[in-house]
């Protein structure tokens, strides 16, 4: 099993992972590792190959070539994806109890996780009577009830309102604190920035950038400062103390704010690929 520079075991390791469908390469020589205990964001537009990567890592697809290793047994993995489902004629609580029973998890965990995803009050409702957002939370609870060592989440908050999204984020941070490694795909750059220790940008089957969000923002930061004056005008200048002082000295207008012009993850992706994340 591969280790990083500190000798920590990687939870996921891939080398030159490639898959083709009808001779069209969907993933092209993907090489990355996910460190144990981190939240790893896999970002890219629709069709970039995010779900395909999860399917290979969870053995739902066989790669055309390359290597991939996952340092967790099947019973130590949780998955929430478009292909996840619950028993719709049964109640939320019965579904959770079933998945807990499958993994020999104590039923007390069911109450705990249902409260964490704000579904305890709806525990006696049939899944078929729930809204899309509530169903998504049921599926997340089912995937996480056994406190997995590795959790794959494919767009977990795409259908959720901000309050529920916040609750989900707290749950994911709790899981991370308890040692769960999380592989997260998302379109939501704010979510990726907030949640992920490291992110990989995937475009047309290739990883075009990989690193911690803060490092990437610094790497792609524009060397500029935006000065907003009281009259609403904005002046962009070089981010150098002497240059800023010189411009400001020559200007008699009142300053409302000065912002450094840092790139966000969406801008970085756009600058790398020319495509927006959708």
């Amino acid at each position: 099993m591969s280790t990083d520079m500190n000798g920590t075991e990687n939870m996921i390791f891939t080398k030159d992972l490639t898959i083709s469908f009808n001779e069209k390469k969907v993933l092209n020589n993907l090489t990355f590792e996910v460190k144990t205990g981190e939240i790893f964001g896999f970002l890219g537009p629709s069709g970039a190959g995010k779900t395909t990567t999860i399917k290979i890592l969870t053995k739902q697809l066989i790669p055309t070539s390359g290597e991939c290793k996952v340092n967790a047994e099947v019973n130590e993995i949780g998955i929430l994806s478009d292909n996840s489902g619950a028993y719709e004629r049964l109640t939320v609580y019965r579904n959770l109890c079933f998945f807990a029973e499958l993994s020999k998890t104590d039923k007390s965990k069911v109450e705990e996780i249902l409260k964490r995803v704000q579904l305890w009050d709806a525990k006696d409702k049939k899944v078929q009577d729930l809204s899309r957002g509530m169903k998504q939370r049921v599926l997340l609870a089912c995937a996480a009830v056994h406190s997995p060592k590795l959790l794959f989440l494919d767009e977990p908050t795409s259908a959720l309102d901000p309050a529920t999204t916040e609750a989900i984020h707290e749950l994911l941070f709790d899981l991370k604190a308890n040692g769960t490694t999380i592989f997260l795909t998302t379109h939501n750059m704010t979510e990726a920035d907030k949640m992920c220790d490291r992110v990989a940008f995937l475009n047309q089957g290739n990883i075009v950038e990989l690193g911690a969000p803060e490092d990437l923002k610094l790497k792609y930061a524009k060397n500029e400062v935006a000065v907003t004056y009281e009259d609403g005008t904005v002046e962009v200048m070089e981010k150098r103390a002497a240059a800023i002082a010189e411009v400001l000295q020559q200007n008699s207008k009142e300053i409302r704010a000065i912002h450094s012009h840092e790139a966000n993850l969406a801008e970085i992706f756009l600058s790398l690929t020319g495509r927006e994340l959708r």
Binding site: T58, N83, A86, L90, R94
Partner: protein, 235 residues
Amino acid sequence: MRLYKVSALFKLGMEDLTKNMSVFIYVLLPLVMGLLYSNLDGISPEYNYSFSVLMNLAVIPVTLMGTIIAEEKEKNTLRTLMLNDVKALEILSAKALICLIFMLLDNILLFFIVGLPMNLFVLYQIPAVFTAIALLFFGAFVGLMAKNQMSAGLLSLPFMVVFLAPLFVQMMGNDLAKKISSAIATDGLMKIYLAIAGNDITFSSIGLPIIVIVAWLVFSVVLFQIAYKKVKVDN
């Protein structure tokens, strides 16, 4: 195979099916047929029972099994289970157990509806269960190949026709048709039932029918394995 997983799947499956109205139609159909036939003149209880059991075998192990597996596929719960460290054999065992229980329940009720002698009760059930096991694999095959519940119903139709064919061949009296029919598992079951009814349970009377049923069991297992390998991965 881990029994605690099979047990969890079995309990959940039973609970889920009792809330599914279409299942009751599958379970009631052979009972209604048995009830109707028992009120017709000129039909012996033995023939009525054979007819109703064959109907039961064609409906529950094939169509019901196929439909409940197809529903798991359609609602994405099959994929969720397999990603939750549940093996195909564990899912199949739980589903098969559920179908066997419903089938046996129908067979027992039919036994009383038709009015056969109680001393033959166990003898009539053993070959039916044995044949049902072979047919369950066809049901599983149908479930795996079908995209949804509706297509499972359609895919199971040819199997139903084949497994019900021996009943109609009996009425036709065509020798060639009888020869072809003797290679069908349910025809084997009918012959075993005839031997039981005639108190002629010897190797010469039931040996070949048993071999036919075993051959169908092997065939159904192979067919199921081909289907399972096909749907196991997405590429």
